[in-house]
Symmetry: C2
Subunit: 193 residues, 2 copies
DNA sequence: TTTTTTCCATACTCGGGCGTATGGTCTTCA
DNA sequence: TGAAGACCATACGCCCGAGTATGGAAAAAA
C-alpha cells in the first residue's frame, strides 16, 4: 500500500514521534511527556521509540528544536512581511487566536520555565520576539531605551494573557468580549499613528 | 527544654509541614512536593508525616489554603489601607519586590495552573486581586467596563513579569534598570491624576 | 533466494515515590 | 506509677516510568 496514497506509512519516523510529543506537551504539559504513555497513544510500544531515540531527554531536545525553528521562521515570514509597524504590532496580538498549536506549546513551555532543557529555548524565543516588537516601536518613533521597555511591557501583556488563558479566566478568543479587550490593549499600548 | 525559650519544639505540628511545603513549592515548584523528600529535608521520616496528614494531597490542600488566606489578608490590610487609588496601584507593583515568599509561591502555582487542586486557588486569587485593581481604576474615574479591561491588562503585566522573572529575563529587582522599567509601566498604565 | 538492515514487540531490571502496618519512645494525666 | 495517647522509625508492598536485552517480522539489498 503506497504511503503517498494513504498518507500513513507503515513505519514511523523520528519526526512522527516529535510531532506527537509536541501534541502531548500542548495538551498536558511537558511533565506528561513520558515514553510509554506516548507509545501507547501512538498504538505502538517502547521498542520503536528506543530505536529512533536514545532517551526521553533527546526526544524532548529534538522536539523543542523543531518547534523553535518553526516559530522563528513563522515570526520572520508572517510578521516580517508587514511593512507598517503599527499593523505589525496589531497583527502580533491577533496572531494569538490563530496558530493554535504553536501557542499552546509555548504556553506549556512557559509553565516549565525552570526545566533545564526548556529554559534556553524560552529565553531565545522571548528574546527574538521582544526584539521584533521593540524594533516596531522604534519605527514608530520611540527612542531605543523606551522602545525596549515598551516591548517588554507589551510582551508581558501577551504572557499574562497566556497565563490567564491557562486559568480559563479570559473571554473566549472568538467572543465579542475578547475583541473589546483586544481593542483596549491596542489602544493602550500602541501609539496612534 | 522549653519550646518558648528555644523556639524549637521537639515535636512537629501540621503547620510546620505546611510551611516547609510552601518553601519547597516556592523553590522547586509544586511537582517537587513529595512526601519522602520533604521528610528528608526536615530531617525526619514519613512516619511523622502520615500521622499529621492522610495523604500528600491533603498536605497540598491545606498548604494552599493557608497560603491563600495569608494572601487575601495581606491584600486587604496593606493595600486596603491606602486611600489614594493612584498610590494604591503603584504600591501594588512595588509590592512585588517585597513579600518574597508569597510571590515565589504564586509564581510556582502559576506554573501549575492545570493542576486540579491549584486551579481553583489561582482563580480566586486572580479574581480578588483584579477586582481590587479594577476598583482603583474606577475610583480614578474610569467607567466600569473600561476599568475591568484595564485591570485585566494591568494584572497581565504583573503575570508576564513573573514569567519573565522565572526565565531570569528581567533586570534585578533592586537595579536601576528595574526602576526605570517600573516607571515606564506606571507611566503607561496608570493615568495621571 | 539468501543476507542484511530496518523497525517493532516482549520481557526483564532498577529507581523512586505513595501509602500501610507495626512497634517503639516519649509525654501526660489519672 | 501505670495506662493512654502523641509522635516518630522501620520495613514492607504497590505502581509506574526509564532504560536494556533480545528476538521476530518485513523490507531492501546482494
Amino acid at each position: 500500500m503506497s504511503d503517498l496514497l494513504t498518507n500513513k506509512r507503515s513505519t514511523l519516523s523520528a519526526a512522527d514521534w516529535e510531532q506527537e510529543a509536541l501534541h502531548v506537551i500542548a495538551e498536558q504539559g511537558i511533565g506528561a511527556l513520558a515514553v510509554e504513555p506516548l507509545a501507547r497513544r501512538m498504538g505502538i510500544t517502547k521498542g520503536s521509540f528506543y530505536w529512533h531515540f536514545s532517551s526521553r531527554e533527546s526526544l524532548l531536545e529534538q522536539s523543542l528544536e523543531s518547534w523553535e525553528g518553526h516559530d522563528a521562521r513563522n515570526l520572520a515570514s508572517s510578521l516580517g512581511a508587514i511593512t507598517d509597524p503599527r499593523e505589525r504590532l496589531i497583527s502580533f496580538f491577533r496572531r494569538v487566536s490563530r496558530e493554535g498549536l504553536t501557542h499552546e506549546v509555548y504556553s506549556a513551555l512557559c509553565a516549565a520555565a525552570d526545566h533545564p532543557q526548556v529554559k534556553p529555548v524560552l529565553d531565545r524565543v522571548a528574546e527574538r520576539r521582544m526584539a521584533h516588537i521593540a524594533q516596531a516601536f522604534e519605527e514608530l518613533g520611540m527612542p531605543s531605551e523606551t522602545a525596549e521597555h515598551h516591548a517588554r511591557l507589551t510582551y508581558s501583556v501577551y504572557l499574562g494573557f497566556l497565563q490567564l488563558q491557562r486559568q480559563s479566566q479570559v473571554p473566549s478568543l472568538s467572543s465579542r468580549q475578547f475583541e473589546a479587550y483586544l481593542d483596549h490593549v491596542i489602544e493602550t499600548l500602541i501609539p496612534r499613528r
